[in-house]
Structures are given as structure tokens and as C-alpha cells.
């Protein structure tokens, strides 16, 4: 009985921590959705692009780890800059659907550029953190939990606190929240939309890099990372597209639910249900709570 409970705990904690990796990917989507009310289809490509560049800097140019990370982060800021200048500004007054389509195109461009620059083979990314159970926790708590999962959890926590502080207490954060509420009114009082766009796309780029590092360390840096970002979709539906805490909690829920279902219900379906179980959960949310757990409700006075 105790063994079963421990096993359940292990599955749950493992799922929760793996979920933080979904949260990291979802975070990038939320940032852009807040500012431009657009689902950024290129987020997956940004993850792939950024982490491949990071690997390329380290492995092809022998640049040390920290410097390579900083370079990759700067590269993502440049990508944000170019996106604002070349894609978003010309589409400034276009409909949201047009911008949505543009992000799909941007995704292809980034995927192509990344592979043209760094090649197509799968790269190994060694963060110096093993993807195996931490001995101390295994010995004392009898839980087998991966060090990489724990790191991902910590990193997600740090990023969330950082972004929260940025939005709540800085001027540009206030500007972003104003734009998220009413872009027209924000521009009428002189909040320059292009600064806000630049901020969110750069921030989303850096978040993509961090998410890419975590996933790359687990699954290898490869093209499949692009599709992995789609897992963020159920996360966002559950958490709410415009909420940063929502992205985190949504990720945790998806992570935990898919692992628990896989282990306990999976065998009845012949296994591998973690691929689609999150989407089933997302459908229930769409039916009964379409704004998600933390999505901003449309406030209407009556």
C-alpha cells in the first residue's frame, strides 16, 4: 500500500515537474497574446531557432556556456527587433487574423534559417544536469525524480517571478498591460505600440531559449521541438491565453494529468494516451470554462 502511494507520488511529482517545461513554452505564447491578441504560431520555431543557435555557438565555435547563452539571448532580441520592424509594423493596422497568418510564415522562415545556418542533424545539449533521479531524494524520500525536472521547475519559478515584477512594477510593464487591455486607447495617450511589441517579442524569444534548453537537454536539439510547442495549446486553453500564472498552472495540470492517466488508465487503451489526453481535457475546458482558469474575463458592467 505504501509502495503504491509512493509510486503515485512519484508519477505525480514527475508529471508536475515535467509540466513546468510545458509552462515555459506556454509562457512565450502568453507574452505575445497579451500584447497583440494573436496566437503566435512561430513560438515553436523560436524555441528551435534559439536553442539550435545556442548549441551552434557552443559546439561549432567553442564559445563557453554562459557566453553562448548570452549570445543566443541577444540573437533572440535581434529576432524580436526584426519581427517588429519587418512583420508587425507593416501590419500595424491589419486584422488579427492577418497577423496570425504572418506568424505562421515567420515560423517557416525561422525554421529554414536555423537549419541553413546550423545544419539538420540532431544535436546533443549537455547542461551539466543529468536526466536521472536525484540520489538524495531517492534515498531519503524514496521518490525517483529527475534532476532535470527539478531544474526546470526552479527555472520556471524564477522566470515567472521575474516577469511578474517586470509587468507589475515597471513603466514598460504598465504600458504592456495597458496595450493588452485596449491598444487603441493606449496609443491615444502616447504609449508607442512598437516599443511594447519589441519588448514582448524579445521576452518571448528569451523564454523560448530557456524552454528550448530544457527540452533540448531531454530530447536532443532537433526539429521535433517545433511540434512540441503545440503541447502549449491545451496548456493555454486550460490556463487562459492571457494569464502568466495560468500558463504555469496549466502546464502543471497538463503535466500531472497526462502522466497519471498514462500510468493508470493508459493500459486500458493500449498505452500512449499522454499524446492526446491533454487535448481531451482542453475540450472540456472549452465547453465549460472557455476563458481558462485564469484568463481575463471580459468584465462588463450591467
Amino acid at each position: 500500500m505504501v509502495d503504491e502511494l509512493l509510486f503515485f507520488m512519484e508519477v505525480l511529482v514527475g508529471g508536475l515537474l515535467a509540466g513546468t517545461m510545458y509552462s515555459l513554452v506556454a509562457l512565450g505564447f502568453v507574452l505575445i497574446f497579451k500584447a497583440s491578441a494573436t496566437f503566435n504560431f512561430s513560438q515553436g520555431a523560436m524555441v528551435f531557432f534559439s536553442v539550435l543557435a545556442f548549441c551552434g555557438f557552443m559546439q561549432d565555435f567553442n564559445i563557453p556556456f554562459v557566453l553562448a547563452f548570452i549570445l543566443a539571448a541577444l540573437l533572440m532580441v535581434v529576432v524580436g527587433l526584426c519581427t517588429e520592424r519587418l512583420v508587425l509594423r507593416p501590419l500595424m493596422n491589419a486584422s488579427e487574423d492577418t497577423v496570425l497568418m504572418a506568424t505562421i510564415g515567420l515560423g517557416y522562415v525561422l525554421e529554414g534559417l536555423a537549419q541553413a545556418a546550423w545544419g539538420v542533424e540532431v544535436r546533443r545539449l549537455d547542461l551539466g544536469i543529468g536526466d536521472f533521479p536525484v540520489p538524495w531524494i531517492a534515498d531519503n524520500l524514496k521518490l525517483f525524480i529527475s534532476a532535470l525536472d527539478i531544474t526546470a521547475g526552479l527555472v520556471a519559478a524564477i522566470m515567472i517571478i521575474g516577469l511578474f515584477l517586470l509587468f507589475k512594477y515597471t513603466k514598460i510593464g504598465l504600458g504592456l498591460r495597458a496595450v493588452a487591455d485596449d491598444a487603441g486607447a493606449a496609443s491615444s495617450i502616447g504609449i508607442p505600440l512598437k516599443h511594447i511589441m519589441l519588448l514582448v517579442w524579445s521576452a518571448a524569444g528569451v523564454v523560448a531559449l530557456v524552454a528550448g534548453c530544457m527540452w533540448g537537454a531531454r530530447a536532443g536539439v532537433q526539429f521535433a521541438l517545433v511540434d512540441l510547442a503545440l503541447k502549449a495549446l491545451p496548456v493555454l486553453i486550460i490556463g487562459g491565453f492571457s494569464s502568466i500564472p495560468g500558463a504555469i498552472i496549466g502546464g502543471l495540470i497538463i503535466g500531472a494529468v497526462e502522466k497519471v492517466l498514462e500510468v493508470y488508465i493508459g493500459p486500458f487503451f493500449g498505452g500512449a494516451i499522454e499524446g492526446w489526453a491533454p487535448y481531451v481535457l482542453a475540450i472540456f475546458f472549452l465547453l465549460y470554462r472557455p476563458e481558462g482558469l485564469f484568463g481575463e474575463k471580459i468584465i462588463r458592467r450591467v
Binding site: L174, A178, A185, S188, I189, I191
Partner: protein, 271 residues
């Protein structure tokens, strides 16, 4: 940037189209003298909002364009500026329908108006206190989420937010829309106060002809994208046609200026 003319805003014969096709303004000319309040009056769809947006350059975001004529603000032509540049030059529009940032607090809403100015935290607080002297009601509600405040309070937030940008000129688009008479008076009192104490020139679009004219120096009446009549506020208030068409003191069944002009033409011909 020296402007010696007496007008802070000078609109000359502008024509505005949306989507390159829909003609919203045919021919509008108007002047706002420095430090004065000018009312732009007319019914729904007459072109009041379009005129204001042409001035604040907010037209572009609605795919509208000034296709003819010119607008001069503070001695300089307006054409290529963005709305945020206009705010930098001291021209701020308060959009129709208040448009507060619903999820932000009242105070955050007001502070957001200072975004374009480089102010320290201390300066912002000082400005905020000054603004609160005009909008006493808002100070009590500073921590509430803006979406949950009343319509009148939201209008005050919108004006207070615009004032934080330290404008030389305010464009107010239907500030009293949907407000109870008592609140209408309160809003206009504040507007007058801002005009006299802060020296802000004001161009306001209104449907509430009577109250607007009583609080303005000069008025323009537009209909289907054309200026039909203009004059000092006093002369408009006493004008028979204005009384009949806009103040509801009617003898005949005429509905707009086109009918009036048509009848006058008929009379001329028959004479």
C-alpha cells in the same frame, strides 16, 4: 515651433475617406483659438469623431485617410505623425466611449497617461496629486479596478489620464455620452476648470448641443461631413435654425440643415 497665430488648431477644407472609398468628411474647416473651448456639434454619423481622429492621427488605425485639405497644429502641418508623436507634441484625444484600461486600477490608468513623458516616480506622484484636485472622486477610488467604476467615473479617468500627458490641447469625443444630467454638469465643470486653470485648448465633439454650447466659446455644426453653420456659442444658442434642429424647439417638421437650405432656395426662386 514658434506659433504666433492665434489659433492652436487650423483645419482647412479636409476631406476624409475610409478604405479609400467611403467618404466620411466632404469639406470641414474649423479653427480652435488658443486657450478656448470649441464645440463640434452634430448627429450620429455627421463626422464629429472622424474630424477629431483626423487631428489626432488616429484615423490610420481605422484605415481612414485625409485625402484633401490640410491640418495645422501649433503652426506645423500634421500629416505623417503617429498618435504617440502627437501626444508628444501636446495633443491628446479622449476617445469616444471612455476606453479605460479595465483590468488596471484607477490610479494605474491615470499614471499610464504620463507614459510619453520622462518623469521620476516623485514627479509622477506630484502630478497625480494635482490631477486629483480636479477629480476628487477618483482619489477615493484610486485602488479600484477601472472596469468596476461607474460611467461617470470612467469618463473622469479618461480625461484625467489624458491630462497626465500634459496636453496643450485636448480632443474630447462625446464626454457626456450616456451620463445622467448631474454628471454631465460635473464633467463640464471639470472641463471648464482644466481650460481656465491649466490653459488647455479644447475641441469637443458633442450631441448634447445645449450643454456643450453653454460651456464653449465657439461652435461648429456639421452634418453629413460638412460644416453647416458656425459662430460664437452665444449666437448659435440664439439661432432660430439651431433652436429648431438641435435644441428641439421646433415649429415646423424640418429635420436637418439640408431641408432648411432646400426650403430657403425654393423661397429665393419663387421670389
Amino acid at each position: 515651433m514658434s506659433n504666433n497665430s492665434a489659433n492652436i488648431l487650423d483645419i482647412k477644407n479636409i476631406e476624409v475617406r475610409y478604405d479609400n472609398v467611403i467618404l466620411a468628411l466632404h469639406d470641414v474647416s474649423l479653427k480652435v483659438p488658443k486657450g478656448k473651448v470649441v464645440a463640434l456639434l452634430g448627429a450620429n454619423g455627421a463626422g464629429k469623431s472622424t474630424t477629431l481622429k483626423a487631428v489626432s492621427t488616429m484615423l490610420a488605425s481605422e484605415r481612414g485617410k485625409v485625402t484633401n485639405g490640410s491640418i495645422e497644429y501649433d503652426g506645423n502641418a500634421i500629416d505623417k505623425q503617429t498618435p504617440s508623436q502627437m501626444v508628444g507634441l501636446g495633443m491628446v484625444q479622449v476617445l469616444e466611449g471612455r476606453r479605460c484600461f479595465g483590468h488596471l486600477t484607477v490610479e494605474e490608468n491615470i499614471i499610464s497617461g504620463a507614459y510619453s513623458r520622462k518623469l521620476s516616480k516623485g514627479d509622477i506622484n506630484q502630478e497625480l496629486e494635482k490631477i486629483y484636485t480636479y477629480f476628487i472622486r477618483l482619489k477615493e477610488r484610486r485602488k479600484s479596478q477601472a472596469a468596476f467604476t461607474s460611467g461617470g467615473e470612467q469618463q473622469m479617468i479618461a480625461v484625467a489620464r489624458a491630462m497626465m500627458a500634459k496636453p496643450k490641447m485636448l480632443l474630447l469625443d462625446e464626454p457626456t455620452m450616456g451620463l445622467a444630467p448631474q454628471l454631465v454638469a460635473e464633467i463640464f465643470n471639470i472641463v471648464k476648470e482644466l481650460n481656465t486653470k491649466e490653459g488647455v485648448s479644447i475641441l469637443l465633439a458633442e450631441q448634447n448641443t445645449n450643454v456643450a454650447l453653454k460651456n464653449s466659446d465657439y461652435g461648429y455644426i456639421i452634418e453629413t461631413g460638412r460644416v453647416m453653420l458656425d459662430g460664437t456659442a452665444e449666437s448659435l444658442l440664439n439661432d432660430d435654425k439651431v433652436k429648431e434642429l438641435y435644441l428641439g424647439i421646433s415649429k415646423k417638421g424640418r429635420k436637418n440643415f439640408r431641408d432648411v437650405l432646400y426650403e430657403e432656395n425654393l423661397n429665393k426662386k419663387s421670389n
